[in-house]
C-alpha cells in the first residue's frame, strides 16, 4: 500500500500513559509528526521527556500494564499500526521497522553466537535457509565494518568491544533492509572516537539504502550533523518542531533556546554557561499551564494558568508557547546581531 503524500510514517496525537501508584504518568501526551521516505528525524529531550516512550509506542513495545497507548494513530506506510493484530505487528517489527538501542550488551543474547543472532533475522522474516542466512550474516558484518568478519562471526557478544557490539546491532537491524530505522541513543554508551565511527556508518547506510531514520538522543551536537528535522520534547509534549537548521538558527521556544545556550561549544570561547534553573518536571505531577513555566525566564501569569497553544511560527516550524512568535522574533534579531 502506498501513500499519496510521500510520508512513510505519520504519528497523530499519540498518547501513552502509565498507571503507577503515584498517579497517571502521561509519558507521551499528544504528539504528532511526519517522516518522509529517506528523511532523518531527530527527537531530543532530557530524561523523562518521553522520547524513548514515543519510539517504543511506534513499534508497540510498551509494557502493558502499566503502560497503555490511550489514543492516537501511527500510520506506517498507509496502515495504522495501532489497529494491527499482534501477529501483523510482528511482521513489521524487525522486518520493516528496525531498532538500535543504547546498550548493545543488553540487546544481544549473551549465550548465542553473533552469526546465529544475525541469521535469525533473515530466517524468520525472509525465510532464508541456514546456509544463505549465514552468508548474508557475514555480508552484513562486513557492511558495518567488522574486520575479519568471517572468522569473528562465531564469537559471542562478550568477545566484542562496545563499539563492535553496536556495529553488530546495526548489522542485525539492517539485515532485512528496513524502511525505517529507529536509533535510540545509539552512541551514548560509546567513546567519542567510536561515536564518530558509528554516526558515520549510519550516514553511509542511509545514503546507500535510502532508509528513513529516527534518531533519539539527548545530545544536540549529534542531531546537528545527522538530521533533517528535529523535535524537542519536554514532559511528554512536543515543545518545538522544525527543520534542523531552522531550529538551531531561530528557536521559537524558551526551553529550546535555553537548551541550546547551555551546551558548551567546543569551537568557540564562551563566558559563563547559560543555565536553565530548576529541575526537570515530575511527569506524574505536572503543574497546570505550561509544564516548563516554573523554569522559564519568559513566563508570565498566563503561562502558569493556561496550557500553551502549539503555534505555527512559519509553515514548517511549530512551538508550544504562549509567546512563540515573540521568542521567534527575538531569535531572529539576535541572529542578525551575530551575523554583523
Amino acid at each position: 500500500m502506498s501513500n499519496s503524500n510521500g510520508n512513510l510514517l505519520e504519528v497523530r496525537d499519540l498518547r501513552t500513559y502509565f498507571e503507577l501508584e503515584e498517579g497517571t504518568v502521561k509519558a507521551v501526551d499528544g504528539i504528532s509528526f511526519q517522516l518522509q521516505r529517506g528523511e532523518t528525524l531527530g527527537i531530543v529531550g532530557e530524561s523523562g521527556s518521553g522520547k524513548s516512550v514515543t519510539n517504543l509506542s511506534i513499534i508497540r513495545l510498551i509494557p502493558s500494564p502499566p503502560g497503555k497507548i490511550v489514543s492516537g494513530e501511527i500510520i506506517f506506510d498507509g496502515r495504522d499500526i495501532l489497529l494491527l493484530s499482534e501477529a501483523e505487528v510482528r511482521k513489521i517489527r524487525g522486518r520493516r521497522i528496525a531498532m538500535i538501542f543504547q546498550d548493545p550488551m543488553t540487546s544481544l543474547n549473551p549465550f548465542m553466537k553473533i552469526s546465529k543472532q544475525l541469521m535469525e533475522m533473515t530466517q524468520l522474516h525472509l525465510g532464508y535457509d541456514s546456509s544463505r542466512a549465514y552468508e548474508h550474516a557475514i555480508e552484513m558484518l562486513e557492511t558495518v565494518g567488522i574486520p575479519d568478519a568471517r572468522s569473528r562471526a562465531d564469537n559471542y557478544p562478550h568477545e566484542f568491544s562496545g563499539g563492535m557490539r553496536q556495529r553488530v546491532m546495526i548489522a542485525m537491524a539492517l539485515s532485512c533492509e528496513p524502511e525505517l530505522l529507529i536509533a535510540d541513543e545509539p552512541t551514548t554508551a560509546l567513546d567519542v572516537t567510536i561515536q564518530a565511527q558509528i554516526l558515520e556508518l549510519i550516514k553511509e547506510i542511509k545514503q546507500q539504502t535510502g532508509t528513513s531514520v529516527i534518531l533519539i538522543t539527548h545530545d544536540l551536537g549529534v542531531v546537528a550533523g545527522m538530521t533533517d528535522h528535529l523535535i524537542v520534547m519536554y514532559a511528554g509534549k512536543v515543545f518545538e518542531q522544525a527543520p534542523t537548521r531552522e531550529l538551531f538558527a531561530v528557536p521559537a521556544n524558551p526551553y529550546t533556546k535555553g537548551l541550546l545556550r547551555s551546551v558548551p561549544d567546543p569551537l568557540v570561547e564562551q563566558g559563563a554557561l547559560y543555565q536553565i534553573p530548576g529541575l526537570p518536571p515530575d511527569v506524574a505531577h505536572l503543574p497546570p499551564g505550561c509544564p516548563f513555566a516554573p523554569r522559564c525566564e519568559r513566563a508570565e501569569q498566563i503561562c502558569r494558568e493556561e496550557y500553551p497553544p502549539f503555534v505555527e511560527v512559519t509553515a514548517d516550524h511549530h512551538s508550544l508557547c504562549h509567546f512563540a512568535r515573540e521568542v521567534y522574533e527575538s531569535s531572529l534579531d539576535e541572529r542578525k546581531v551575530n551575523y554583523k
Binding site: S161, V192, A196, E200, F248, P264, P266, E269, A272
Partner: protein, 370 residues
C-alpha cells in the same frame, strides 16, 4: 623550554614537566599504577593459566603539575587511566611508583596518619551521585561527617556549618534531615560537592562530575563548580570524557591515552591547534551543536578500537590506530616534548622545528633528531 622554579622537591628532577610557571600546588612525577592480573608463573603454566604475566598499566609514568587556582582538565576515552590517575593522586588507589607532591610532602609515600591529615586539603567528587552517598544517612550526617572526622566542628556549630554548606551549593537548609533517595541526580551531586567542601579543601578531584546528569543540569553543576573555585580559590583536576565540558571548565587540558599523557596545553590552544594525531582525531570527533558547522566539518574517523590496556602496544601506544604511523612509532616510546611554548605533545613525527604533522615529509621523524 620553561623549567620549574627551584622547589624543595624538583632539584632532582632532570626533565622539565608540563605545567604552568610558578609554584605548583600539585606536582606529579613519573607516577605509575600497575594492576597485576597474575599469570606467567610455573603454577599458571601447570593449571593452564596465562603463560605470560599480565599487567594492566593503568597509569604508566605520568609527570604533570597543577598550579594553584587552575582547573586542569584530564580527558581521555574509557580505560585510558584518567580516573585511576585521579584516585592515585589522592591515594585512594595505591601508586606502584612515582611521587605526588602537595606542598613539600610526597603524598605517595606518607604514612597512614600523615596521609589522613593531608586528606583534609584534598577532596574528591564522584561520577555517580546515586552510588556515592550512603542511603541510610541524612543529608546532614553526610555533609557533617567530614567535620567530625577532622574534629572541625561538633554539635550546634556543626549543624550551622552544614546548613551554610547546603546554601553554598544551592540547596535549601530545610533538606538537612532528608535522605539521598529524596533527591534528583543534580541535587545529589550538589550534596556530594557540599561534603567535599566541608573541610575547606585546597584541591578537588572531580571525577566525571556531570556525566550522569541531564544536559540542563550539567550546566548548573559546571557553573556551581566555577563559582566555588572563584570564591574559595580552589584547584581542580576535572576528569571527563566529555570534550565539550572539558573545554568549558578547564584552563589547561591534559589528554591521556592508554595510561600515558599524549598532549598538554592551554584549553584554547589544544582545541584550536591540537598537535598529536590522537588529540586531533579526538577533537574532530566532538559533535558541534551547530548544523552549519557540522555540514562543513571534516571529521577524522579513526580506525578500530582502543587496544587492551593489558600488555598495550609497544612504542607509541596509539600507533595501531594512527593515520601517520611509521615503522619507528612501533619501536620508540615517545616522550612529552614542549613543541611550542607551554604546549607539550608526545609524538616522534613532530618537533619544535616541525610542529605541524601534516607538513612533515612522509616517513620523517623529526622528533627523533632533537
Amino acid at each position: 623550554m620553561s623549567t620549574q622554579p627551584a622547589n624543595s622537591y624538583n632539584g632532582s628532577m632532570a626533565q622539565p614537566i608540563p605545567g604552568r610557571d610558578g609554584q605548583p600546588l600539585i606536582a606529579i612525577r613519573d607516577l605509575k599504577v600497575h594492576f597485576n592480573l597474575g599469570g606467567g608463573t610455573a603454577w599458571d603454566k601447570l593449571i593452564g593459566g596465562s603463560p605470560v604475566k599480565r599487567v594492566v598499566k593503568a597509569v604508566d609514568g605520568v609527570t604533570l603539575t597543577i598550579a594553584r587556582g587552575e582547573t586542569l582538565g584530564l580527558v581521555g576515552e574509557s580505560g585510558c587511566g584518567k580516573s585511576t590517575l585521579g584516585r592515585a593522586i589522592l591515594r585512594l588507589t595505591e601508586p606502584t611508583s612515582g611521587q605526588v607532591f602537595y606542598h613539600d610532602r610526597d603524598l605517595a609515600h606518607l604514612s597512614g596518619r600523615e596521609l589522613r591529615e593531608q586528606r583534609r586539603h584534598l577532596q574528591i567528587i564522584f561520577q555517580d551521585p546515586y552510588a556515592s552517598l550512603n542511603p541510610r544517612m541524612t543529608v546532614g550526617q553526610i555533609v557533617g561527617e567530614p567535620l567530625e572526622t577532622f574534629h572541625l566542628a561538633r554539635g550546634e556549630a556543626a549543624e550551622r556549618r552544614v546548613q551554610e554548606l547546603l546554601e553554598i551549593v544551592g540547596l535549601s537548609r530545610r533538606f538537612i534531615k532528608r535522605y539521598p533517595h529524596e533527591f534528583s541526580g543534580g541535587q545529589r551531586q550538589r550534596i556530594g560537592i557540599a561534603r567535599a567542601l566541608a573541610v575547606d579543601p585546597d584541591f578537588i578531584v572531580a571525577d566525571e562530575p556531570i556525566s550522569a546528569l541531564d544536559v540542563s543540569i550539567q550546566a548548573q553543576i559546571m557553573n556551581l563548580l566555577e563559582r566555588l573555585q572563584r570564591e574559595k580559590n580552589l584547584t581542580y583536576l576535572f576528569i571527563s570524557h566529555d570534550l565539550r565540558a572539558i573545554r568549558h571548565v578547564s584552563d589547561r587540558v591534559a589528554v591521556m591515552y592508554l595510561g600515558k599523557l599524549v598532549e598538554v596545553a592551554d584549553a584554547t590552544t589544544i582545541y584550536r591547534e591540537p598537535l598529536m594525531p590522537y588529540t586531533k582525531a579526538l577533537i574532530s570527533a566532538v559533535p558541534v551543536p551547530d548544523p552549519e558547522v557540522e555540514a562543513r566539518r571534516q571529521r577524522i574517523v579513526l580506525e578500530g578500537d582502543v587496544p587492551s590496556p593489558i600488555n598495550p602496544p609497544p612504542g607509541c601506544r596509539f600507533h595501531t590506530r594512527c593515520p601517520f604511523v611509521v615503522q619507528a612509532c612501533k619501536e620508540v616510546v615517545p616522550q612529552l616534548v614542549e613543541i611550542k611554548p607551554n604546549h607539550w605533545a608526545a609524538c616522534i613525527r613532530i618537533s619544535p622545528e616541525q610542529p605541524d604533522i601534516e607538513n612533515v615529509p612522509p616517513g620523517d621523524t623529526p622528533g627523533l633528531r632533537s
